[in-house]
Symmetry: D2
Subunit: 342 residues, 4 copies
Amino acid sequence: MYSFKNDYSEGAHPAILNKLIETNLVQQAGYGEDEYSTEAKNILKQKLNNPDAKIYFVSGGTQTNFLVIAALLRPHEAVISADTGHIFTNEAGAIESSGHKIIPIPVKNGKIKPEDIACILKVYNSLNTVKPKLVYISNATELGTIYSKSELSALFEFCKSNNLYLFMDGARLGNALTAHDNDLRFSDISTLTDVFYIGGTKNGALLGEAVVFNTSELATDFDYIVKQKGALLSKGRILGIQFLELFKDDLYFSLAKKANDLVAKIINAAKEKGYSFLAETSTNQAFPILPNTLIEKLSQQYSFYVWEKIDKDFSAVRLITSWATDENMVDEFVGDLKELGV
Amino acid sequence: MYSFKNDYSEGAHPAILNKLIETNLVQQAGYGEDEYSTEAKNILKQKLNNPDAKIYFVSGGTQTNFLVIAALLRPHEAVISADTGHIFTNEAGAIESSGHKIIPIPVKNGKIKPEDIACILKVYNSLNTVKPKLVYISNATELGTIYSKSELSALFEFCKSNNLYLFMDGARLGNALTAHDNDLRFSDISTLTDVFYIGGTKNGALLGEAVVFNTSELATDFDYIVKQKGALLSKGRILGIQFLELFKDDLYFSLAKKANDLVAKIINAAKEKGYSFLAETSTNQAFPILPNTLIEKLSQQYSFYVWEKIDKDFSAVRLITSWATDENMVDEFVGDLKELGV
Amino acid sequence: MYSFKNDYSEGAHPAILNKLIETNLVQQAGYGEDEYSTEAKNILKQKLNNPDAKIYFVSGGTQTNFLVIAALLRPHEAVISADTGHIFTNEAGAIESSGHKIIPIPVKNGKIKPEDIACILKVYNSLNTVKPKLVYISNATELGTIYSKSELSALFEFCKSNNLYLFMDGARLGNALTAHDNDLRFSDISTLTDVFYIGGTKNGALLGEAVVFNTSELATDFDYIVKQKGALLSKGRILGIQFLELFKDDLYFSLAKKANDLVAKIINAAKEKGYSFLAETSTNQAFPILPNTLIEKLSQQYSFYVWEKIDKDFSAVRLITSWATDENMVDEFVGDLKELGV
Amino acid sequence: MYSFKNDYSEGAHPAILNKLIETNLVQQAGYGEDEYSTEAKNILKQKLNNPDAKIYFVSGGTQTNFLVIAALLRPHEAVISADTGHIFTNEAGAIESSGHKIIPIPVKNGKIKPEDIACILKVYNSLNTVKPKLVYISNATELGTIYSKSELSALFEFCKSNNLYLFMDGARLGNALTAHDNDLRFSDISTLTDVFYIGGTKNGALLGEAVVFNTSELATDFDYIVKQKGALLSKGRILGIQFLELFKDDLYFSLAKKANDLVAKIINAAKEKGYSFLAETSTNQAFPILPNTLIEKLSQQYSFYVWEKIDKDFSAVRLITSWATDENMVDEFVGDLKELGV
């Protein structure tokens, strides 16, 4: 049974494990003050072309969202998110647990637009309601779609005009930036958002996300929040090493591209067979709408999520690949998709 | 400059790194549902002789304390702790950030007694005050001391009679249980506390603490809390592997004992030279009271904390060893301690 | 300019003010331990036919919802509410500020049904999501509608089968129970919910809501929560006196009925003129759909909320009456409604 | 049995009750937008000589402290308070429930000094600890003592130099400002603190405290916090009327002075008899140290708190007077104090 359920079924890229071994007995300062973390941060600031950026390494995506939002908002301030947003659907109420309401925008493809936010601002305009203060987006989105440069620029401009923070969840940022139809550069993210994070866990790391505040002022005392919420690792060196290896030679992007390319094989095969899709994606997720009979057959050899019932005969499924996905298994899956689907 | 500042200056025991490499590309379920975590939990339940225990792996000590206390207490309930307790002095207000007051007990040696708690209960007895509900202890304590079986039994009995939970912070539990003067067995911890954790980070792991609820009822929905506070790793396999390697053959205890033995050399040398101590310890921490002139000399070659000023000529310092400490460096330090101290 | 905007534009029923004066200099214990509060609670328990009920007097509706939900839920537990629910739309994120997500059910008439909740439970079924634990309803609802006995019974039964608390917001409970089509008795509320509150502020009191836990166990330590969140008045006597006067002779119900009867005049006049309604109501709120031209004319003499745009010519307005509404002004309004509406 | 236990045993000054009756049926906007509140705020700003002040009326003291601190602090920021401070000892963990640690300073007379704070800042200086950000003082203190102008100036200057807010709890501000040895004017409070509150409940009001932010910037969105925590009364007129009556003619100060003068009779009598005091007070509280035998006799006719055991024969008691205290009963008490004490 081969799994296409998620992009964290395997461990880490060997370069990272090797570096862990190589540096294992070198004494280092704790709590992220080690030299690997420092070096990784410097490389990132250089690649982002943003010397004023403040960077923090933490362990996971929910943790990152929880910390950033807790750090930026006052008690009565709220978050605007797509109703497909990870914070709204999949984080066990983490944001609310820090006291903040999430105001969802109903979306089809995982993306939000300035006019959606404008509608929210009209309703949430008195002290009977919470005060919207931060816009949360994901890139790639939870549906595998991406923001274009013009879309992101429009969002950021709208946020700035309306005194809102723009926060990008980059759990799959590598996949977004290496999508064939992407026109955003890595450094653009640093000029078109207030804060974002670079997902490591789903793209080659054992664990680890890099939070980037694009101005140092926004990051004021963020280290206190990280410590207070239990997110500061004693051996911060582990996280530094992940990002050092991923970014010293653009491994991060080549791994993400590989994942995109692998799922593209599945997407193309499904298109060839005439299947439609729940969302048009160019990153490492595919949401083909398949006959239930085919789904049943495929399920005997592959694990994946049945995402949404479409009608009595068809359902959308989700298939994910990663840097660690076995290309042979993708090819086998493609073969089965074509043959078993009558 | 060799460091005796803490027990997390190095990486992980090689057995753990090897296992990470060996299992790296095996696909596993996420979020702690992997087979290494399952196996590690089974081994722990067996060694604790407690099949009803519920075990969770998380990343760090502050995180563990934050999660356990948030899970067990209602909003108005408070924690009783020694004023040296890690949650009171060193966690950036983590416990208060989840809404709970910590009531400190002034102590000399890091340990608390039933009569200390009884005094608190007399004062905190109306709804003007918070309601004490959980007693937090550390073993080994932050001052390197340990609880004897009779001390722990008395505390637990008192807690049970007064409707209080007893929670043991075991960041250095291995050091406590392998101290030469310890009379608690590993399985005793499971019968003499309500909940405790087994520290991995400071004893051989890259990261990781194992929370043990001694009855399954107390653990109800703890997994929700772990997820909500951002503490659930996607690749939970990493944590499972740490504890699998540490406990499948008692590596955990041999590493801890090694650390204890190393610092004992320093303790003995200091005693030989006639120095006294801030606290009598038998675990991996030493608090000798040294002349400031000696401290200055030692500081040129070794890093360690000057813990407390004693008088104008003397200060207590803290020296810590771990499984990874270089015995040669301990011997050199011992030599310098003897020679430089005129 | 006469106001039909809300039911808290005036002060208190004279009986209450008289009692305040009469008892003003009698020394009483503070914090709700006064004899008026005790007597009022006894009367309520008797009228509710529930000697095991635990009753607390607090100041306002948002405060009540905030306290009850904070007291009953663990950190990861969530509230289910109609999307018209006061806690969802009008309380500035009070519930989220105590850490709990509200899961909204889209409704037309302010009411929710067991099948709505069942749908939520299907989606919120893993630890990625919060755990639904409490169902919040209002009676009368924010749209002036009421629950019948069979509807409430079905809801309560469903909640009990699914381990959910049922909490009724009774800010306008008096209006609901005196509606001409109501079939619930006051004491039914105590057997068909877990906890509810009796709104005083909108029905004769200067301020005050009575929280009723229908079993003493649910109320455990609620007084701590009241104190902790700043809701315990030093001079609790003030709140006791409100409920003593309102309930010693059923003043509460006669005031509510008067309000219902007054708005019924408006409803009948609107029906006579052929207008339709946003919601069919029998309590003290009316939501007629009127021509914008008429609304403009009426607005010159009366203040009220334009609730919702219906189409280019028509809007729904909200008109509210209370025990203190001047019947002459209602009659004038009715006259204007008939005459000005061409 | 006459009570000297507290200063909230009776209702409100008759002027307030009369005004409530007089205005009872006048329609007013809700939520503090009524004309009485507006007028009261204007009067206060004038008397404080601070047109930029922002004023809010809420119901009680714990509520006020809870709101102000929640509004001003970020999650990792903490409060410094005397260990006798109301927030530390008597508010059921309200401050911690909003996520903030209170760092206590041990004091004898209820007052804190710049050097006390300086000591705290030295210890709380890294991200292992919380970050002190607000200094909480009471005037009059919980022990009945007061701050002189030079003391308050020194504190405020220290706070400003160290980027700390200074917040004064004025539950008994009237008593402080009318003490015979006070040299602070009402308007000084507005220049020597960042925020303070004027206690109504203990000085003539049915309920109500007036929060004063001395600069409008500090008050940003405070109304949201008030609403969110359930502290915004629908009938805000009630609170406005309390402060309108108390301040339109300095009733507030004459009532406070009366209370001070009454307890002074007791203090003088105790001095005459040679008794000493737990604290030297000039406000409406007295803490004489009396023989236990005398305490027992007095307890048969008067209720008051036995505050602290001094030795086997003596205890300190607390006696409080208010504007409503019956002077005849004070005289009787004085007589009994002199006669019964052999």
